[in-house]
Symmetry: C2
Subunit: 273 residues, 2 copies
């Protein structure tokens, strides 16, 4: 893969890169379309990265749909699929890890220790292997995108990190490979996330400055849904620092992580005034 990429670079062909864990949905396809519109070559990786899963997380049951993924990539006109083995990515003796201090302990970081170090390390590896001019990430994983931007800038990785809008189902649920874990009843209940974020955003657009009031309203809505088994966070944040806000700013991030049954779902919304 590295030689292929280097060959493209030598011919001054720009590479756009879309890293995925497979189980591709329209969110991934939107990143691929964006990449194809901005680069000569589009490379997609499928790699369910073990180091970003915690001990009790869903690594073993993470959906694997390689055949249909490949078909979707062919239909989307992807040039190259990079699909490494874990044993190639992490051979015996592997011992390096990248941490992005501060940012990686907030929001999801509090509930998934080591997760963002696993993400930062594998993305650094993938960027060094695929050598793209631009790499594409979905806004749904907002904290991930902030951390990867920081890591790429800090380590002087010569690649633009492009964050693309969250793609949603018709009713508003953010597309996610993990939605497939939900029963029909849970799927209906999950809509509360979108409704809470929307309500928070509407409050802010209507002039609410007190972030605490927005946070309370969102949490009240989530608490009222009986199938929500745990709200990990639901609040108002500075999108640059990921610090919780007391007062709404010109650009504000609303973000939620919760469980429905054992399925963990996240979503967020950026509100600009």
């Amino acid at each position: 893969m590295q030689q292929t990429s280097e060959g493209h670079r030598l011919r001054s062909r720009t590479i756009g890169f879309v890293p995925t864990m497979g189980a591709l949905h329209e969110g991934h396809i939107s990143l691929i379309k964006r990449s194809k519109s901005e680069n000569d070559i589009t490379v997609v990786s499928i790699f369910v990265n073990p180091t970003q899963f915690g001990l009790n997380e869903d690594f073993d049951k993470y959906p694997k749909e390689t055949d249909s993924d490949i078909q979707k990539l062919e239909e989307a006109g992807v040039d190259t699929l990079f699909m490494p083995d874990a044993s190639n990515m992490y051979p015996d003796g592997f011992s390096s890890s990248i941490t992005v201090g501060g940012l990686d302990s907030k929001l999801c970081g509090e509930f998934r220790p080591g997760h963002f170090s696993g993400v930062a390390t594998v993305v650094c590896k993938l960027l060094n292997i695929t050598r793209p001019a631009r790499a594409y990430f979905g806004q749904k994983d907002f904290q991930q995108s902030v951390i990867i931007k920081r890591m790429a800038a800090d380590l002087n990785i010569d690649c633009q990190i492009v964050v693309c809008p969250t793609i949603r189902e018709g009713d508003g649920l953010a597309k996610s490979s993990r939605n497939s874990y939900l029963s029909a009843e849970q799927r209906a209940a999950a809509l509360v996330i979108y409704r809470a974020l929307n309500t928070g955003a509407e409050m802010i657009r209507a002039g609410e400055k007190d972030a605490g009031a927005v946070k309370k309203q969102m949490n009240d809505m989530l608490a009222a849904e009986p199938l929500v088994s745990e709200v990990q966070y639901a609040s108002v944040y500075d999108p640059a620092t990921l610090d919780e806000l007391a007062e709404v700013k010109r650009e504000t991030l609303l973000a939620v992580a919760l469980r429905i049954g054992s399925t963990r779902l996240i979503d967020n919304m950026l509100v600009s005034l």
Copy 2:
């Protein structure tokens, strides 16, 4: 610098890179000569990296000899000198760091906590900025070279790490920018390091298999030198894992770190049977 390097790569010119902290001596010049013999372009960096110095170490007094360094680089025929500011390397908000677990806590790591993380991080940055085909390091910093090789392999950095022989003064003292801290009396006393390493190597070559006996002999010699104020380590190691050995192997590392007055000196010798 990154654009310059990318320009060379686009023209299929190979870059050799020699990272330094300045105060250049013949050890550095030997790396430059090697780089020039193996690459089209040779880039040298001078950057006294603050993040690899501990709180009570010699960052503030580390020798700065920029004018004579530049002259030496011109005489050596170096193509490009990269000399960044700390504020460019570590701008506000910088938060990433690379750790190379296991290897970074042994030998010097025990006495310089955080040092190798600082080294790994800055070398990763410098390699991403200068994009060399080969980067050159001296064997005197043996542990550093092992850690950098590991980091470059783990993070898929497309660069060969070349380790070059330690260059010594006529009497055997390893060349080091820190030798300039020594008084004449301390300079004479420092020779005990080379004598201890040589004695250890001779014992092994003469058939000694007991690493403990070699270690004891080296430590006895160092203890007999009154100007040695602290022996941090002096022992027999596996050069791949940096683990201390009970029995001599086909390839064995002898390594020493000690202080003479407040000056910390390190040296090592590889013995192959």
